[in-house]
Symmetry: C2
């Protein structure tokens, strides 16, 4: 029988995590603070969260929960600074909508409204801007959520790489939805909604930094339909969801186990991967578990509901390649292990350094 946490225990765990908060001791910002890995965590949890201290922010989920007039809203914001602006499979405008919609989806929130703030570089080609606005409009329509307000600033030539977009989303959380890392239980199955590593790899190839000719396209897609299907199928047996963007599936798993102080085991040959991604990762010496996705949900589900959850994901085109990739255990607390094809284990740690900045 998996352990059930009382509210007091959940609060104690959050307090405990605060005491173990990473320290920020750097004197300057470096690219690795934006990588989504250890340095990002030190910056966010060691500097930003303590200074802006409040309970909603301290939860560090994909979106904050806010109570308004009896309704539970989810609020999330993301700046998109991807370079280049366009890449195989997508562009910054599409990403800026899907990325925010997906943070809401992972929080179990139906997207209601988006706000978009544009920082434009002097000299930006008006047709490029038009194209990205069209991409935003198309993505917003696909996700079924309007962009209701916005802002436009212009900065001098040489700044802002053409266009930065900050998208903020408001969503509505149904009253019976409870999702949190603290609700993850030993025995829970770990599901991923499809093949991993495509977005980050597509960006790396689009930059021309590596001499490799592979047909890898970003997976950018709205995830609310998958999240909605999981919520409907599993109810309270769906314990937590995350959108596996910067830092990839490995980082999401590490963040969850650090919070719930349980362990996770990933059965590595169950991780869905396109052969082109496998090939590119091998050539470049990169682990696809750390590569960013822009349309992949990681879900923690009670073991006896995992097959139904998998079926629900696979019933939707975006989740056709979904898989159960591992499970949660009591030990090793706060750690993620990979079980390799030869029966061995390896530690899947937090990302250190900066293999690929500015991927979203």
């Amino acid at each position: 029988m998996p352990k059930q946490f009382t509210e007091a225990e959940v609060i104690e765990r959050i307090e405990d995590m605060r005491r173990r908060r990473p320290r920020f001791t750097d004197t300057q910002i470096t690219m690795s603070h934006g990588s989504g890995g250890k340095a990002s965590r030190q910056l966010v949890e060691g500097l930003i969260v303590p200074l802006l201290d409040n309970p909603a922010l301290a939860c560090l989920g994909d979106a904050a929960r806010v109570q308004v007039e009896g309704a539970t809203l989810a609020l999330t914001t993301d700046s998109f600074v991807v370079h280049p602006l366009a890449f195989p499979g997508g562009s910054i405008g599409e990403l800026a909508v899907n990325g925010t919609v997906n943070d809401l989806a992972a929080a179990g929130a139906r997207p209601i409204s988006l706000a978009a703030a544009l920082i434009l570089e002097e000299g930006l080609d008006a047709e490029v801007l038009r194209g990205e606005l069209e991409a935003m409009a198309a993505a917003a329509q696909q996700a079924g959520v309007p962009v209701v307000t916005g802002d436009t600033k212009v900065v001098e030539r040489g700044k802002a790489d053409g266009l930065y977009i900050t998208t903020t989303g408001v969503g509505l959380v149904a009253s019976d939805v409870a999702l949190a890392p603290e609700l993850v239980q030993p025995g829970d199955k770990v599901l991923v909604s499809g093949t991993v590593g495509e977005h980050g790899m597509a960006i790396m190839l689009a930059r021309g930094q590596v001499d490799l000719d592979a047909d890898i396209r970003s997976d950018t897609a709205p995830l609310w339909p998958l999240a909605e299907a999981l919520l409907a199928t599993c109810g309270a047996d769906l314990h937590c969801m995350r959108d596996a963007t910067r830092g990839g599936v490995a980082t999401v798993l590490n963040e969850i186990v650090l919070t719930c102080q349980l362990g996770a085991v990933v059965i590595e040959d169950k991780v869905p991967l396109r052969p082109e991604v496998v090939g590119a990762c091998e050539l470049l010496g990169i682990d696809p578990l750390y590569v960013a996705n822009e349309g992949k949900l990681v879900a923690f589900v009670a073991p006896d509901r995992a097959d139904e959850a998998l079926e629900a994901l696979r019933a939707h085109p975006t989740g056709a390649a979904a898989a159960i990739i591992g499970e949660v255990a009591e030990e090793p607390a706060g750690r993620v292990l990979g079980r390799t094809g030869f029966g061995g284990h390896r530690m899947i740690d937090m990302l250190v350094g900066d293999p690929l900045p500015r991927i979203c």
Copy 2:
């Protein structure tokens, strides 16, 4: 008896405004697209709004109204790219909180939650970041609204001028609040909540672009207390409010009269001005009505409630220098006139060009 508009008439006016929408024909983005004047309007109304088309966005208020579970929320977003990061009277962190709080306030919405997205430049001094986070925290506490969620991205050295902040706010609009340019009536008095032009002048002096030694400080301040006082005092006789930032009071007045197709007359010697601002503007040949504020509300109030409204503003320290600066008339439709000290009139047009970019 001022004309009352039916809902159908309001919709017709919006439709009519859409037909008269400015066209965007530029091939490149220039600094003037960020000035808040005519070029900004062409970009926003000629390109962005038509592409992201939806009714809430088309209203172009300081914040969008969103209905959720019977409650009316206001949603607003603003990117802050002010250069330099710190200036007399404030800094980007304080501005980023107050600016968004003030957009909510002008929409008649009590601020509920903020989201903050940071774009950091590689090499940013950690102490500068810490100082701006402290400024955000202090401003958020003063305004009584928590920063509940955020995002952090890092861009390469030479980009982002150290730090850009995008702040998004969610507010709650009371069920009896109706504020819109379409509700402005002939005869309405125009109130401003204090002395104008300080923020833009403080930025200009802080840049050292002009050889002038004047003690001018930014007026950055949260405006919800003033907005709340006006709502409580005037009820439905408060017809519209705006936060007079980029483009100053002149731009706000022009935007309102263009929408309601009425005229506004400003009695120029009634506009509250600090002598240092008058002096600096005269020396530099700048009209203070076009200079940005970061803590000034413009309100349109039925004439028989204007004195009470003025009293309500003046009762609060932020509104101590409030004044009635003009009134609304049937003619000239869509135009703002200034009545000068000698009994003459001048046209106060939309701002053209780019006297002072990146002031917020």
